[in-house]
């Protein structure tokens, strides 16, 4: 349970981190909060030659509310999201997701970007990013590129991040209009554990209570968190009547490829996906209608 040997470098800027990644190639790993990476090293699932520490880079820690998006520095600690009042107003889904993430000690150290690049298919923040189709800004010595969450997650613990890239910023799109509601729920063995299945939704309504926009997704029931933009589109124009929601969530559950393990078999995961997706859609809709 001790990590294998490695060399250590503390990067003082994103430029320096990218230069070190460029220099050491895929023998190097970035370490942010380390809440997943350190156990992987302890279990010797990884044996990097270099760890490049990005914890002390101030430029990676910020929360900025723009007109159309909330921009969050990849190194922002999860506990900071938890306490940030403006996020509660502008991006409630992120706070709702974070409510299920780990414990005080892990949120004090764990970062937003770290959870996304780790890409555990059961993790909450990747699901929130998938549902809102967040934009991820990647930087390397060669320059910057932006990709969306649907291109970012490529498999269990796999992303489109190249070995020489550092996730710099996550842009969470803001939906225009005041009548927006969101919800996140999951089933796990104990609070703070990774989800067996998680579901998240965001719904916007007009003055009459008709849905004008919807998004939802499922985590823990496939190789990556999965959003269903096409099915969510079928909710537009409805008032999320029971049969409409049931039809959409049944279709979503059919598209999943859940696995079986000691915690739950595939059939149970599929069942949970349908039920939980229905709950978050209904709850997000009710919240959207309740807001002025």
């Amino acid at each position: 349970m001790k990590s294998p040997p490695f060399e250590y470098a503390r990067a003082r800027s994103v430029d320096e981190a990218c230069a070190l990644l460029h220099q050491h190639g895929d023998t190097a790993k970035l370490i942010a909060g380390g809440q997943s990476l350190v156990p992987m090293l302890a279990f010797r699932l990884l044996r990097p030659s270099w760890l490049i520490d990005i914890n002390e880079i101030p430029d990676l820690k910020f929360i900025t509310v723009d007109i159309d998006a909330v921009r969050i520095g990849a190194g922002t600690r999860q506990c900071v999201i938890d306490r940030d009042e403006k996020l509660g107003t502008h991006l409630p889904l992120l706070r709702q997701a974070l409510h299920w993430v780990g414990h005080v000690q892990t949120r004090n150290r764990g970062t937003v970007g770290g959870s996304l690049v780790h890409a555990d298919p059961s993790a909450e923040l990747p699901l929130a990013a998938a549902v809102l189709n967040a934009k991820l800004l990647l930087r390397s010595q060669g320059g910057r590129r932006t990709i969306t969450a649907d291109q970012f997650f490529s498999g269990p613990m796999m992303t489109a991040v190249r070995p020489d890239e550092c996730l710099e910023e996550v842009q969470w799109p803001l939906w225009s209009g005041a009548r927006v509601g969101s919800a996140f729920t999951e089933v796990s063995r104990r609070h703070g554990d990774f989800a067996i299945v998680a579901a998240a939704a965001q719904v916007a309504v007009d003055g009459s209570g008709t849905c004008t926009r919807a998004a939802f997704g499922i985590g823990g029931a496939g190789p990556t968190p999965l959003a269903f933009p096409k099915l969510a589109g079928e909710l537009v124009g409805s008032r999320l009547e029971r049969d409409v929601v049931l039809s959409v969530t049944e279709h979503a559950a059919k598209q999943l490829e859940p696995g079986s393990d000691t915690h739950a078999n595939a059939a149970y995961r599929r069942h949970l996906a349908k039920i939980l997706a229905g709950r978050v859609l209904t709850s997000a809709y009710a919240q959207a209608r309740g807001t002025a």
Partner: protein, 163 residues
């Protein structure tokens, strides 16, 4: 094979401490093996049990999920640092004794750190808030009830003391 040693300077329980560490040495191993601060316990060594909880710059973290080299330039409080300046037990530690909030004692230092961090931010926590704050710390003896009792007792005493 000889490993590179990295110099570190860390404030531990108010004292400036320095060391030379291989990069892979976990913070908890450095605290215990080099500084001989054995109050912090090593449990699962992969971030599940919470026994190794310490405060990093005043906030509770798991010291098995940090390398000692990462603590360079930071401030750490271990369970040894919770006592009053004269070395006597804090209100929280006393309360743990009185309510018998431990049996084997393995989780106790982590529980004390988690509970003290809670009381630092929130001197009058509800039972739910207490259970949430110690939610990342496993205890296999008490069933948690006496630990919750201890934190509630400490909160009452601290409030009375402040009057």
């Amino acid at each position: 094979m000889s490993e590179t040693l990295y110099p570190i300077a860390v404030e531990v329980n108010g004292r400036a401490r320095t060391g030379q560490v291989p990069a892979r040495t976990s913070l908890v191993d450095w605290l215990r093996d080099e500084l001989r601060l054995t109050g912090t316990h090593v449990g699962c060594e992969h971030g599940i049990c919470g026994a190794c909880s310490i405060m990093l710059d005043g906030e509770p973290v798991r010291s098995c999920l940090m390398y000692a080299v990462q603590a360079d330039g930071h401030r750490i409080t271990t369970v040894e640092g919770l006592t009053k300046p004269d070395g006597s037990l804090s209100a929280l530690q006393d309360s743990f004794c009185e309510t018998h909030a431990m049996q084997c004692g393995y989780c106790t230092s982590g529980m004390l750190i988690a509970a003290q961090a809670l009381l630092d931010h929130n001197p009058r926590p509800s039972e739910d808030e207490i259970r949430d704050a110690i939610g990342g710390n496993l205890c296999r003896c008490t069933g948690y009830q006496q630990i919750v009792d201890a934190v509630q007792l400490a909160a009452r005493r601290i409030a009375e003391g402040a009057k």
